[in-house]
Amino acid sequence: MTLAWLILIPLFGGLAAWLASVVSANLCRWTTVGTLVLLTAQCLNLLTEENTGAWMAAESHPWIPQIGANLSFAVDGISLLLVLISILLSLVAVLVSWKTVDTRIGAFHFNILWVLSGVLGVFLATDLFLFFFAYELMVIPMYFLIAFWGDRKAGAAATKFILYTQASGLVMLAAIFGLYALHGKATGDYTFAYDALAAFRTDHPMAPWLMAGFFFAFAVKLPIFPFHGWQPDAYTHAPTAGSIILAGFLGKTGAYGLVRFVLPIFEQQLATLTPLIATLAVITLFYGAMLAFAQRDIKRLIAYSSLGHMGFVMLGILAGTFQSLQGVMVMLLSHGFVTAALFAMAGMLETRTRGIRDMERMGGLWKQIPVFSTLMLVLVLISLGIPGGGNFVAEILILIGSFGPLAGWTIAALVGLIVPAVYSLWLIQRAFHGQPRETHALTDLDAREKTLIGALVVVLLWIGLFPSTILQTGAPALALVEADPVPPPALTAEPGPLLAGDLPDSRHP
């Protein structure tokens, strides 16, 4: 039941937090924190499992036997890392909202925990029906978070978000049923089990359409150009906690889906579309950076900057080499932490200036709030890929790994390393350097904020300077995705052959 508990704990925790809010707001907050700490402990337990590339832990409970759907969960290195970052960033989301969210506190924390539960369901489900169920479910509490606790324009942004994701989700549902039917017809075994479907190869004329269905849903969620229409509005108008959740880990379900489903199952079909998608990835990279440069709203700038990074993620996934996939893993983590920290700081600034996000109305803030400005500068630099920060390791791995299969696009992406510097330094100039354009009475970071942002910076430097732990956790599973499209075999099956030559040193060299 270990894995099922990972999903049940936040569900029950959410209810408990809501109930606790009747007693006092702080009890509700502490209940949420307690839930997340419990969850982290549960998750760290999994790290001790043997990590060979096969599932580190798996379990299955009957659900709808008539159609072959089960409540089956499993975890390997890839999902474990994403589960961990989701829990940690939920904690960050709760901590930044400690003093700023004061309406409907019970519902707020309930929604955070239920989003998390849905996201963990997505990362852990090994039944496609269950996967779809969780994929759709996480969107609804997210909708409420944006709509009820966001700014004045949040209603429209939330609607846009739910329309985009529901529409693309329906396309994926069709693709899941298509795959289910093809597999059932071919083998006589009608099942939604991931292991069975992932081992299934078909050249049925419908296969490219099925691939497109999956791809579309994940490309919207990631997002990449031109499927990103919901993203800037949702990131900008959501409350700080909402932006952190969206950019930090909810969007990562798109990347996860591509690595977990599209890469192994539809390798052949993906190959025919590679030039098109690689071009979209490169456009995303430049488009995000250019749009970020053009923004005046600091949150919108961060949103577009985040979009640009997804271009790298897409390129790395598409290249599908061991190095590029490792780069993608590091990017997902590093980008999650850095974007969460940037949104947290933008939120702190917004609170201090009583709702100002327009950088044209800032300027010269360094003198007033030096600690805040310094940390912002550090985060911006890590985000633009200064070595020492996590994004640099991710980018260099993706670029080195992608050059072999996708040389032309990698060269374009290399040129794309220049543009983030432009908007990043322009942000610093407009908000923190120069002379103040308006007078605001600002206070620098307090101890709680300093600790929170400081901890995130330390994590990012740790990823940038000592990424081995992360790389080794993801390596066995990624090596299987890369070396052979056959997915990690189930625990019950014979352990799959490990390609020793392609593997880095194991955890115990």
């Binding site: 229409g229 800037p232 488009y287 010269g364 670029l399």
Partner: protein, 621 residues
Amino acid sequence: MIDFLWLIPFLPLTGFLILALFGHEFPERGAGVVGCATIALSALVTLGVTIQFAGLGVPGLTVHYGEWFRVGGLSPDFAFHLDGLSLLMMLVVTWVGLFIHLFSAGYMHGDPSFARFFAYMNLFVASMLTLVMADNLVLLILGWEGVGLCSYLLIGFWYEKPENGYAARKAFITTRIGAVGLIAATVVIFNSLGTTQISAVLDAAQSSWLSGEAVAVWVALLLLIAALGKSAQLPLQVWLPDAMAGPTPTSALIHAATMVTAGVYLIARHAVLFELAPGILWMVGALGAATLLIAGVTACFQRDIKRVLAFSTISQIGYMFLALGVGAWTAAMFHFFTHALFKALLFLGAGAIIHAVHNEQDMFRMGGLRKQLPGVFWTFVIGCASLAALPLVTSGFYSKDYILVKTLTSEAGSVWFAAAGILGAALTAFYTARMVGLTFFGEAKTEVGHKPGAAMMLPLVVLAVASTFGGFLETPQTLGHITFFQDVLKGALADIPGPYLSIAAEAGLQAGVTGLVIAAIALAWKRYGRGPAGVPAPDQAGFFARGWGFDDAYETVLLRPYTQLCRWLRNDIIDGFGNLIAGFVQFFHHVLSLTQSGMLRKYAFGLAGGGLVVLFLVLYL
């Protein structure tokens, strides 16, 4: 001492961390002590390491400290490589850095951000040491980007002024273009040779790449782009003159002695790869020659003393590139060495002058400072003599002569390269003499405020002595034939060979160049020897003074189109498309809701009309 090698970059890093985290609680003196002491210790360790390394008698050695990351075959380590080349760079960075730090303690006295300044400077030294000690390309990129970052931070140090911020961003983004070249080179090298460890790369390239093969040419070209950006060579030189917005000690350390020569180091370090791409090697020399002439001419038209020195730096690095282009790696490094000494001296001297005349930088508003600042005057003149390459007693003479001889004798050399070098020597002498005349002679135009104290004078004197005697480490056959410098670098660098020029020819070249230099000085002295004749109007900067229109060209071709394009895209075309659908739906919502008027008459009319249409369709189609 080699056991303590890690301390060399680690000490300045510690200084940075202390000052960055707790600097605001330090009194000025405390921050200064932390800033200088870490560099001093690092310099001493470097000296100890050098002595021990010299005793070992090996060409090079590598010290591993741990793994950075390991993915497939890609495994950059935290590892440092020691050989003559890296030790030379380390000695210059730590020792010149130390004296510049000492000078800064006096120069920055009273600045409210004193601790922040030393934090940045310490981080710079740590990054620069990482750059030159790195044993693999990924770690080298860490140092490379680190020094670029510190350069950005220090140029924009006085951030209240928007123009300083502009100069800082310009420097960072221009050198970022170069950094991308370096990252791209790393990507190509790893995909071709399967390693990023520099000595392994050089060996593998020699054994598996043919001379002139596409991959060799591409890698050399990408490395060249990296070097052009960092070392401010044509066509990426535009950022360096603006970088003078930073505090003057910064200009001395980063924009004269060390960081801007990182490109020279990069090419020398990868000399083998450039030998495999002769076309690109020729480009190195040609760009160097063009840069040294263009920047030399521009320097003759400047009024701001720091901008003269900035263009002079670009021009002198042009000499180093010229030497690299003919495969005279040792000569390039020798000129790097002497230039670091005398240009640091000149920048610090300029700093002392600017400090004394209330932050005035326009030479036409100075004049007559010889009597009021005698110490600064004499040390500055010694530096200028080296820059102008006055014969026999200046280090600049020996290094420049070395380069000129090599352009003629090397197999990769040519008469045109030599001609550019000789013409450049005359230009250098001209703008140097002009600078001395305008600043120190004639009538005083500005009152002298605070005179430099001991903290500022000591570094000037030390550097003046060093830039006089530094040249004797390597002298031509006509003048004693000392080959100490060559011998030190022999283990790391192998020059492209060439026949020896005869003693007579060499002496003739030296005499000819010296004659030309003296003529140029005389010409400049005739016009500027009596100080500034009057203050010209400020806005008469012509084509040459503005750096030959490069800035304007980039403005028109790159900056404006980019900002304009971004402005057009601002509202996100894709979002517009999504909103179009929403608008479409909304439109029909309004139109159709009009039909729900609640009036029975209209409903009946609609029903009848619809019925008629259906009837028509059924009957006739």
